[in-house]
């Protein structure tokens, strides 16, 4: 008997759909619960008061609508409704109503935080949400299989592109090639400068680590050539995102990118 190693790494469409629904619901729940805890930062003497930020909105009627939406009680209700939509995503799966609501409310949240709260994780969250919306809308007008194919490829192309762009632009920078950029960014990170004896202060180690991640990220498109490569790529990516969380405090990045992995593995299995 011969074992088909390739087939054992391929993700079936129903399994990929369930995996992305659960991972995305988890990722968005973490974000939404954090937004609930952050409400004091949007009031009183705090930085994110809407009375100043509202000037960013160019249309008068939209400004008035957002004034109502971002009143403390309405904003809390919006976040609670998002949690309910996420519960529905976990137990009932994707449908146009829960994904449509999450998409529209996500746009409102982005505006509340001047376009992005946490940069990259907001971008990737929106990518997955748009992919899920594409899957629902296309399924509505065509077959469900075609809809999910479109959604998964949309997410995969964005996710793979994010690794490639992030790695290759660093390869073009001298400070990344000689390893000094990693130490500089880590010193300026929110957890404070690296300790004097920290292993990443050793130039040769910082250089090797920088090169390892830059090359790995730049080769990300190759993960699409084989489902086994895609699984390996996602395992390394999980470690990479955990290290980014650990050193830069970016927990949302970890979950936002993890939610794209079922799509990557599914797409690699289709080639």
């Amino acid at each position: 008997m011969t074992m088909d190693w390739h087939a054992s790494f391929m993700l079936s469409t129903p399994l990929a759909i369930r995996a992305i629904e659960l991972l995305f619901a988890w990722s968005l729940s973490i974000q939404t619960l954090e937004y609930l805890r952050m409400r004091p930062a949007t009031q009183g003497n705090s930085l994110w008061v809407w009375s100043i930020q509202r000037q960013d909105v160019p249309n008068q009627w939209m400004r008035k609508f957002l004034d109502s939406l971002f009143m403390p009680q309405a904003f809390t209700a919006l976040l609670v409704l998002r949690l309910l939509a996420l519960v529905s995503l976990v137990f009932q799966g994707c449908h146009l109503l829960n994904i449509g609501f999450l998409f529209v409310s996500n746009l409102a949240l982005l505006i509340r935080w001047r376009g992005a709260f946490n940069g990259g994780s907001d971008f990737m969250t929106l990518v997955v949400l748009t992919g899920l919306l594409i899957a629902q809308v296309v399924s509505h007008f065509s077959s469900s299989e075609f809809g999910w194919r479109a959604g998964f490829w949309y997410i995969t192309i964005h996710s793979i592109t994010s690794y490639f762009m992030s790695g290759s632009v660093k390869l073009l920078q001298r400070e990344w090639r000689n390893g000094s950029a990693m130490t500089i960014f880590l010193n300026a990170a929110i957890h404070g400068p690296l300790g004097s004896g920290h292993w990443l202060r050793k130039p040769w180690l910082a250089t090797q680590s920088s090169w390892a991640f830059m090359v790995w990220e730049s080769l990300a498109p190759l993960a699409l050539l084989d489902a086994r490569l895609a699984v390996l790529f996602c395992l390394i990516a999980s470690l990479f995102h955990f290290l980014v969380f650990w050193y830069f405090g970016l927990n949302r990045f970890f979950w936002a990118w993890l939610a794209t992995f079922p799509a990557i593995i599914w797409c690699a299995g289709q080639i």
Binding site: L47, Q53, R114, M165, K170, T183, I190, Q270
Partner: protein
């Protein structure tokens, strides 16, 4: 056939590194910029904007005395469970993002423009007033500065002041 699509996609990505597209801007594009991610994280080393603030207190002889400049840079503890719930750190990161946007607004501003009209300026001024109120409840004046710091892997090697706000009377 699909393999050729992947190779083609890879080549398109390489081309995007070489070909620079013009920058399009506008208020709605700014608010909805998450639809147009550039995926360039921590890529360039250089000057980084940092916010400093100080409070003025009128002493017993009626003289205005300024405190030392306070560096308003976010710090957070490193904990494993922050992987699941991390509001304080994320707020700190968002604060520093705002400082970056404030710097970008100043940098792009035409000559002679009053930065007080920027939303980012007003947000920073409001934030500074709140922080100084907590640190020095009796203060009567406040002022902030945006300084550009250049670091190497061991220390800050150069600093210059990009903007100093007027001395504001506490409201």
């Amino acid at each position: 056939m699909s393999v050729y699509w992947v190779i083609g996609y890879f080549l398109v990505l390489v081309l995007t590194l070489i070909y620079k597209t013009p920058i399009v801007s506008g208020p709605w594009l700014f608010l909805l910029r998450s639809f147009f991610p550039n995926w360039k994280f921590f890529h360039a080393v250089g000057y980084v904007p940092h916010l400093y603030a100080r409070a003025g207190i009128v002493n017993a002889t009626g003289q205005l005395v300024w405190t030392d400049w306070v560096h308003l840079y976010p710090h957070a503890e490193q904990k494993f469970w922050h992987l699941f719930h991390n509001p304080k750190t994320n707020l700190g990161l968002a604060q520093q993002n705002l400082i970056d946007h404030f710097w970008a607004d100043l940098n792009d501003a035409p000559e002679g423009c009053d930065p007080r009209s920027f939303v980012s300026y007003q947000m920073v001024a409001h934030f500074v007033a709140g922080v100084l109120h907590n640190l020095y409840p009796e203060h009567t004046h406040n002022q902030f500065e945006l300084r550009m710091l250049l670091d190497n892997s061991a220390e800050t090697t150069n600093t210059h002041v990009m903007m100093t706000s007027p001395e504001e009377v506490r409201t």
